[in-house]
């Protein structure tokens, strides 16, 4: 490292997507000195740029009924959603929508409509959402943050959180471009660096779960890593049409037979199983779409100028059959389920001084599966606001942070180690091995104890033998080395949590345990590091949130898993 920079702030925000911007703006409104640090460019990097069809808005004035919405989420989330959070998110959807609107996010309010429940969403009642227009949420949110006096530092990869007397007092990182190191001293720190994926879809390939893993290494508790993401994607004309393929769920197998989606839990799993049964390849069939469906798709095309050229040149009117692939966000968790365990509704974590926002915050407000698109952005905005206010409240009472020099030296050594190592393993190669191990459907989607254990054996070897010897020849590769380390740790979390939950629920499917197991698994899986090992435990769900156990299983869970 060449130069050492020390940056001081009342509140440090790691990750500048919509959650990070909301958090920073809210903390700044409390009169505090706030800095956002992003490894790419705040407002453009991460999931925020790809997020969305729209923004879910709950508004009683539009005739929305809270109980109806709550019941729908409880049912689709298979009763393990945190209802306190579900209610908060719904109730704060209108204020966060108004904030985004006032910052210049291009919504099309006339688009407010109900999602047709007869389509991919099957039995669930309609939710309302506002379409997102051309600008998306990122750039206007960044602009608002700058306008309100938030400092933004782009292009800095944060590697670890700094602790003093068990409190989080900032973070350390480096610039892959200048190769300078950065020490951030902060009274409160918010991590809002998004989900993880194993470099699957192009647009989110930089999301390597850095915030969650640095919190884990610092001793925070995490939750719900066993619920995988469920996007599918057409391979032709490109790998980025997953939104369209989800909204119009009409698939055929190799013999041209329509794949029945009405009985299984969800589209993704139905396709996984058709493939598993040897019925692949699978095609997205536009030939049988009604003119209305085609028209709707064309409308949406107009709203996605930021997308891949192949997507923009895709004309639904030409119809056709498009080959589908699974695992668009392989490695990711179901939206707003997995993440750092918040200990209260201010997004505080088990570590004093550390707050979590956005997909990094494990609110579990959607439970084991999400009902409709559009909740991702909403959850990020609400948790961002709350984390910003919570961190500000903490920072206003916190003492001036001091840095433990010994701890700083230890973390600096870890940060630089790959660059100082002469021989070892290239991060690009280790990432490929990890992808090959984790991404196949029979590991990450259709799970089974022995297969999970086999993958875990390999992942543990990567962690024990390859990760400690990652090499980097410059700042860019040093970023890759830390990202690889974080993805490998995430893989361990996913595998261990998947092994631990010996039942099927929501997006978590175990071939060897194909039924929901009430009340044993009306519980969340939590994990934390203890003496260098990952420890998992069960957190029971409050009894008042349980489904009515006197009702037959088939009534509690109208959707069937294969093999039940």
């Amino acid at each position: 490292m060449t130069l050492e920079n020390v940056v001081e702030a009342d509140v440090l925000v790691i990750g500048g997507g919509i959650a990070g911007c909301f958090a920073a703006i809210k903390a700044r409104e409390q009169g505090l000195d706030v800095t956002i640090v992003d490894k790419a460019y705040a407002g453009k990097s991460g999931g925020t740029r790809v997020a969305g069809f729209g923004y879910v808005v709950f508004n009683p004035e539009w005739g929305h009924d809270l109980d109806t919405w709550m019941n729908a989420i409880n049912k689709k989330g298979e009763y393990i959603n945190n209802r306190e959070w579900t209610e908060i998110v719904l109730k704060e959807s209108w204020t966060t929508y108004q904030a985004l609107d006032s910052w210049g996010v291009d919504f099309t309010p006339e688009s407010v409509k109900s999602i047709d429940p007869t389509k991919a969403l099957k039995i669930y009642p309609p939710f309302a959402f506002v379409n997102l227009g051309l600008t998306r949420t990122g750039p206007p949110s960044r602009k608002q943050a700058v306008k309100s006096g938030v400092k933004i530092m782009d292009g800095i990869m944060v590697t670890d959180l700094l602790k003093q007397d068990e409190k989080v007092v900032g973070a350390i990182g480096f610039s892959p471009t200048s190769y300078d190191s950065y020490i951030f001293k902060a009274k409160a720190t918010i991590v809002s660096s998004g989900i993880v994926n194993f470099r699957s879809v192009a647009e989110i390939a930089n999301l390597t779960g850095d915030g969650e893993t640095m919190a884990y290494r610092a001793g925070a508790e995490l939750t719900s890593k066993e619920f995988p993401d469920e996007h599918v994607m057409p391979l032709v004309p490109t790998g980025c049409l997953c939104g369209e393929a989800i909204s119009y769920a009409n698939y055929i197998d190799a013999e041209g037979e329509r794949i029945d989606l009405s009985h299984t839990h969800e589209t993704r799993l139905a396709l996984d199983f058709a493939f598993h049964a040897g019925e692949g390849p699978i095609f997205w069939d536009l030939d049988s779409a009604t003119p209305e469906v085609i028209e709707k798709m064309c409308e949406r095309q107009d709203h996605t100028p930021w997308r891949h050229e192949a997507v923009r040149s895709f004309d639904p009117r030409n119809r056709g059959k498009y080959r589908i692939a699974g695992g668009a966000w392989a490695g990711g968790q179901n939206s707003h389920t997995g993440g750092i365990w918040p200990i209260n509704t201010k997004c505080a974590t088990t570590l004093p001084g550390l707050y979590a926002a956005g997909e990094t915050c494990g609110t579990r407000f959607l439970g084991a599966d999400h009902p409709v698109p559009g909740f991702g952005l909403l959850g990020a905005a609400v948790t961002g606001s709350r984390a910003g206010l919570g961190a500000a409240e903490y920072a206003l009472q916190a003492e001036e942070p001091t840095i433990d020099e010994e701890e700083l030296a230890r973390l600096k050594k870890i940060m630089n180690a790959p660059a100082e190592r002469k021989g070892g393993f290239s991060p690009r190669w280790v990432t490929q091995i990890l992808r090959n191990t984790m991404i196949p459907y029979f590991i990450i989607h259709i799970k089974q104890g022995e297969r999970l254990q086999a993958a875990l054996t390999i992942v543990e070897f990567l962690e024990d033998h390859l990760v400690p010897k990652l090499t980097a020849k410059d700042g860019h590769e040093l970023r890759l080395a830390h990202e690889t380390k974080n993805m490998v740790l995430h893989a361990e979390m996913i595998l261990r949590a998947s092994l631990f939950r010996t039942e099927s629920r929501g997006t978590h499917y175990r071939e060897d345990y194909p039924r929901r197991d009430d009340p044993t698994w009306l519980a969340w899986v939590k994990l934390r590091e203890e003496q260098g090992r990952m420890k998992l435990f069960k957190e029971p769900i409050p009894k008042e949130w349980w489904p009515d156990l006197s009702k037959p299983y088939e009534e509690r869970y109208p959707l069937r898993f294969p093999g039940e």
């Binding site: 790419a40 782009d154 892959p176 192009a202 930021w306 692939a325 695992g327």
Partner: protein, 73 residues
């Protein structure tokens, strides 16, 4: 393969593509003050650089150095 070319004749050195590239593939050449492709092997073909370039100076081929890996296809 991946990001193919940033046309130095068209590039105005604004640096927007560098901010758009979340994979840190593009860097500013200090001498020429133009954007250059530094780590093409990490390009994921998202085309954000191309979409955001005000001068249409960037060419991206849809073929990635590291192929997309899917759960099934």
């Amino acid at each position: 393969m991946a990001i193919d070319r940033i046309d130095p004749e068209l590039c105005n050195g604004c640096g927007i593509c560098i901010n758009s590239c979340h994979m840190d593939v593009i860097r500013m050449d200090e001498e020429s003050k133009k954007a250059v492709i530094k780590y093409p092997e990490d390009c994921v073909c998202c085309e954000y650089c191309k979409l955001d370039c005000p001068e249409n100076a960037i060419y991206v081929s849809p073929v990635r150095h590291t192929p997309i890996l899917v759960t099934w296809c």
